[in-house]
Symmetry: C2
């Protein structure tokens, strides 16, 4: 709950700070609500990963309260970054719900203001970094890290948006290479590399080789994580994962369709081409039947085992920094069912 | 034309830099076109103001080519910032055209991708600052300047968006105080303070008092500039200003309606209340008739003279830095007719 305490401090700082900008009460209330609605939601895995990575890095050593707060502040910056992307993504995808509530832009008093709110969320996170890290030696590095990862995530979003033309199904674009690139840029950098790299900076690690090796391992983990996400979208228990998957209907370039296309017969490919990306449940069932014929559950089980081995091997070779943050993260996601 | 040369360097750097990010040719082409379509358009006044302010500051002294390039790079960052805001603003306002071409989001192959493109434009400008200023003593200050001004502009946008409820006319919200606050945050900081402050940093000015006095004068100038803009929307020559004003139809909290409400009789106010913010030309004519009765042209002429005197007086008292940048800017905008 120290993580939630840090959130309240950051949020109140921001809201109170608006007085310096002569904002009228209505605008202050709007911002307060906008933050509450969009930031401290979801599983907060990414935000919490900073403090847990820091603890792994400082194995045994005690961490001062002020350092814990810093790690949590950096963690919240990741959650702020994610909120900025989700608010914008829902506008772009014309989505209806997010994290069990209507998408922010769907609220009648918000609408397209959400576009500006996304920019505001981004500005706020740089305000947090400045306020809480400006005195630190690694301030510039941390700032550049967030800027880099943010840009990469935007490029990933661009890749995702341009990977399917609207209202047109072209499965020839759904290659493994394309999927990997989208996943790496859109998800892996901010979800896996960013929290660990932030923790490394806070822990005082300055060796570039450590960041390089962390990046390699964490991006691989991010890819595996997204493959799980795509797998669970179709094969997960809706009650357990908290939503009903619609990747097939939504013409998503997901791990399953990419794998299916790799091994489908001419006939199966035709079925996929005529049935993918249709809202009709009968069409979805046809796609799932092909997945079944191709034993994608088995293919995934094999991929999961291989990924675990590959990542474990890479971790075991790490010498420039503690292996613990990587092992912890891998343990958390291996064979997850939600 | 050295300004345009700098643009080409920055744009090509960015586009080529995408190779480091494994972007496929389609994505690179998209970004190239997105920059071309949105950045080097309009009058470029803000961008050009950096080099002209720097020349005023260094009166007489010759400026090295590399310093000229830096000033122009900073100028382009302002144009990039503006492009980011305009791309987003047009989505939020559901606008049709911008700078004589369809709004970016209106292109069929763009659509809501524009939201992400706005974020990309922002990231790119910080990339430029980092690449060209990281070695300079004032790098952090310049970066924070852009972050601050960007946040303030977003807050100004929020004030603007929440100043009128959609499809509801409530003229009681259109006070001078509200107008001034919107203008200061949404326009004045980035259009007037930002270019001069950037030039001051490049010129090596570190005295905080200089930035304070610059801010005071330039925000006042920005307010006067926006009053002109609002005035010309109704009274300017459409051929000359390049567009047909629609502030009345669009329910804008502009300088004219604010002034009209200040001196309107009960009867005139009723006419404004029932006629403002209607697409019907007959209604617009009614509003303009009230403006005529209240002699807003005369009120504006008086405001213009007073603003010029007030700003000139403030400039004449400046001792902490050269007065020239302020005098130049004031001369450029005084009694402008477009
Ligand atoms: Mg989405
Ligand atoms: Mg999306
Ligand atoms: Mg998914
Ligand atoms: Mg607009
Ligand atoms: Mg607008
Ligand atoms: Mg105007």
């Amino acid at each position: 709950e120290m993580f939630m305490d840090a959130y309240v401090v950051l949020r109140d700082d921001m809201v109170n700070g608006m007085a310096d900008y002569e904002m009228p009460p209505d605008a202050v209330k709007y911002i307060h609500r906008m933050i509450e609605y969009n930031v401290p939601k979801g599983k907060l895995n990414r935000g919490l990963a900073v403090i847990s990575s820091l603890r792994s890095l400082m194995q045994g050593e005690s961490i001062s309260d002020s350092l814990v707060f810093k790690a949590n502040a950096a963690g919240w910056c990741i959650e702020w970054l994610q909120a900025m992307f989700l608010v914008a993504d829902d506008v772009m995808d014309a989505s209806i719900t997010r994290r069990g509530q209507p998408c922010w832009y769907k609220l009648p008093e918000v609408g397209m203001n959400a576009v500006n709110d996304s920019l505001i969320l981004e500005s706020q996170l740089y305000g947090v970094i400045r306020k809480h890290f400006q005195g630190d030696k690694y301030y510039m590095d941390l700032l550049h890290l967030f800027q880099d990862v943010s840009y990469k995530t935007q490029l990933g979003q661009l890749l995702d948006l341009t990977s399917q033309e609207k209202d047109k199904v072209d499965l020839s674009k759904f290659t493994l290479e394309t999927w990997e690139r989208i996943v790496k840029y859109k998800t892996a950098f901010y979800s896996f590399y960013l929290p660990v790299a932030a923790a490394m900076m806070i822990a005082g690690i300055t060796d570039k080789a450590a960041y390089d090796v962390a990046s390699e391992i964490l991006l691989d983990m991010g890819e595996y994580f997204q493959a799980q996400d795509d797998f669970l979208d179709c094969y997960g228990d809706p009650e357990y994962i908290g939503k009903i998957g619609t990747d097939i209907e939504d013409n998503k370039c997901g791990w399953l369709i990419v794998q299916a296309l790799k091994s489908a017969s001419q006939e199966q490919r035709s079925i996929l081409e005529s049935s993918y990306a249709k809202k009709d449940p009968a069409m979805v069932a046809k796609v799932k039947k092909v997945y079944k014929e191709l034993d994608l559950e088995g293919v995934f089980a094999k991929y999961e085992t291989e990924s675990h081995k590959r990542i474990s091997d890479a971790i075991s070779k790490v010498k420039v920094m503690p292996q613990a943050p990587f092992l912890d993260l891998l343990k958390k996601i291996y064979k997850r069912s939600k």
